[in-house]
Symmetry: C2
């Protein structure tokens, strides 16, 4: 059994890039968290990435991340120790000291926040997360889907405020209270949820996703350097497949109920000339249609990449005329069970008429 | 030194009536809290009203009340034990058991909530409060003005959710977070603030206001029965003065930033024929003008009573054509100090150009 590996300063750009891709268009920008983590590493901090199996079943692992107003790009902390303060509040409220941290969301900014907090606290990070991608709401993790207690959780801001969610009816109430507190706190805040046993996480975390993000990031860097079959190499590293290439013809976006809602219309190019593509957005890329027929839906991953560089394009940067590739990846089995689909399937996003059909890569 | 007196079922209507008058048009309706308290008293619960001086300086006293969306009439709890659960959460977070409860706001519904919670918890209530009237926001108490810690505080709803405000930068942040949590909780929730020492409250609570509300309520009941000089007797009992009688000519109300804002135009009758009256409303009655000149402002009390019955009229029940009397009462000295005026003077309500001139009864 491997005991993991140390994450070094040199790994951070690849982790950032891989996390951005797994953000499926959303998840916030990991860049600021990366800069803060790099600073700590340059000052001597180290963070080990350890496989879930390396922890004793009774050890506790904490989950921290940024939480913001539910609009794209704000899931970043402001002052730098918000997540650490939220973690300490949860430890105090639960009477449990955590042995490691885990990301709730490997896609986007929240890939980096647990690494930053781990560097501050002198803890390792567990190799895995609660989504295998990005989703917009607190309850949309394998942790909560499979029984993580909604309490105690805590939220902290850059000014010194800290709120503890002491008794919560369920994870949906936690999402509601945490979200409005985050809005009051002004965009980004640090969020910590109830510590979980490593035994629980060995069954219910999406495993290996820190390493997966690193591998994807390194593959993108390497493919770009070689300039040969960049998209194909990235798809292989991600365990996915390029399903479409096209030009963006129209982008509609609006803020609705705090979410960045909208869709993108594409006209096919190269092998896909003549095919009409369409992607629905709700912070993240939700659904892909080809010639009017649903082809891929959440929880499977839909990523829009720049055609030449395989650079992941977040929803807010989509523009008329961009030439893009659509990369699809199957979600982890934990996110596709009947109980998971209730929380992260098309219906959970308001698409009552669209049934989930698993994508195979 | 008196040890106080037991509050009986027979006292509750008078307390309700006096509290409604001290609500200065707002403060929410104490009626539901009264019914719940009566039920407990009929089942054998007793609640002693004790003067602040009867407590040892080191004993701790808790403050509980309803908190709602900042619109008139919703400061009522729904299920009945919300305040008790918030109190228990604050006791746990502070490590302090309280020896009694005190109202933050004797005007309106929050005169009764501490009595209800005291009946549930088997505690006495301290004779006093933090306003001597009603005000719309959490920070507007003598407690917070003179140094009550903003943390820990807690809010609980009827469904089983409970949130602890663990670290708060100041009382304004507490107001903000508690208010949006209350909105999420749906109208009414129970709120408990940090326990205070009796030594602190002997200096900084508005003293004797439970008894004052009872006395006012009894005076109204008695004056109505006698049908002679009802207004004069009520004014005497309240320590105030009838400053105007008139007919309501216009009522404008709108919801603005969550507050019921507006004004009432009056044309004088009887001794005040020919005088134009105007009252500004922000949940409570804020400012009284006579013939265009400011005469009374917050924190002094402005109450609108039915001309014949001296029934206090809340702002949402003001109607064109009503014949009313305006009763004014000086605020307690604790609410008129320079530090208090910053929090509850005309400026705190957005009237930058109106200076506070103390009213003498």
């Amino acid at each position: 059994m491997s005991d993991g590996y140390p994450l070094t300063e040199a790994d951070l750009p690849a982790l950032t890039l891989g996390a951005a891709l797994l953000g499926t268009g959303g998840g916030g920008n990991p860049y600021i968290g990366m800069l803060r983590t790099r600073e700590l590493m340059r000052a001597g901090a180290t963070v080990d990435v350890r496989p879930l199996e390396s922890f004793g079943d009774d050890e506790h692992i904490g989950s921290v991340g940024g939480i913001g107003a539910p609009v794209v790009g704000v899931e970043k902390v402001e002052e730098g120790e918000e997540c650490l303060r939220a973690l300490r509040a949860v430890e105090e409220a639960s009477g449990v000291k955590v042995a490691a941290l885990i990301s709730a969301e490997i896609g986007g900014a929240n890939a980096m926040e647990p690494v930053l907090t781990a560097a501050q606290a002198g803890l390792p990070v567990a190799d895995g997360d609660g989504m295998g991608r990005a989703f917009p709401e607190v309850q949309m993790t394998s942790f909560f889907i499979y029984g993580q207690a909604p309490e105690p959780a805590a939220i902290a801001d850059d000014k010194g405020n800290c709120i503890v969610f002491k008794d919560m009816v369920d994870m949906y109430w936690l999402e509601r209270f945490a979200r409005t507190a985050a809005v009051d706190m002004g965009a980004g805040a640090g969020f910590a949820t109830a510590p979980m046993s490593a035994g629980f996480l060995k069954r219910y975390a999406v495993p290996g996703t820190v390493t997966q993000a690193l591998d994807i990031g390194r593959a993108i860097e390497k493919a770009r350097a070689s300039r040969r079959d960049v998209l194909g190499k990235v798809a292989d590293a991600a365990g996915g497949r390029i399903i479409y290439t096209g030009k963006i013809g129209d982008v509609r976006r609006e803020l609705k109920g705090g979410f960045a809602m909208g869709h993108v219309e594409l006209s096919g190019v190269a092998d896909h000339a003549g095919e009409a593509g369409r992607i629905a957005i709700q912070n993240e890329n939700l659904i892909f249609w080809r010639d009017g027929a649903v082809e891929i839906t959440v929880p499977d991953l839909i990523m829009i990449l720049e055609l030449d560089t395989a650079e992941p394009i977040t929803t807010e940067l989509l523009r008329y005329g961009q030439r893009v590739a659509v990369l699809a990846m199957p979600a982890h089995p934990l996110m596709k069970s009947p109980e998971a689909l209730k929380v992260v399937g098309p219906q959970a996003f308001g698409y009552a008429d669209i049934a989930y059909k698993p994508f195979a890569a």
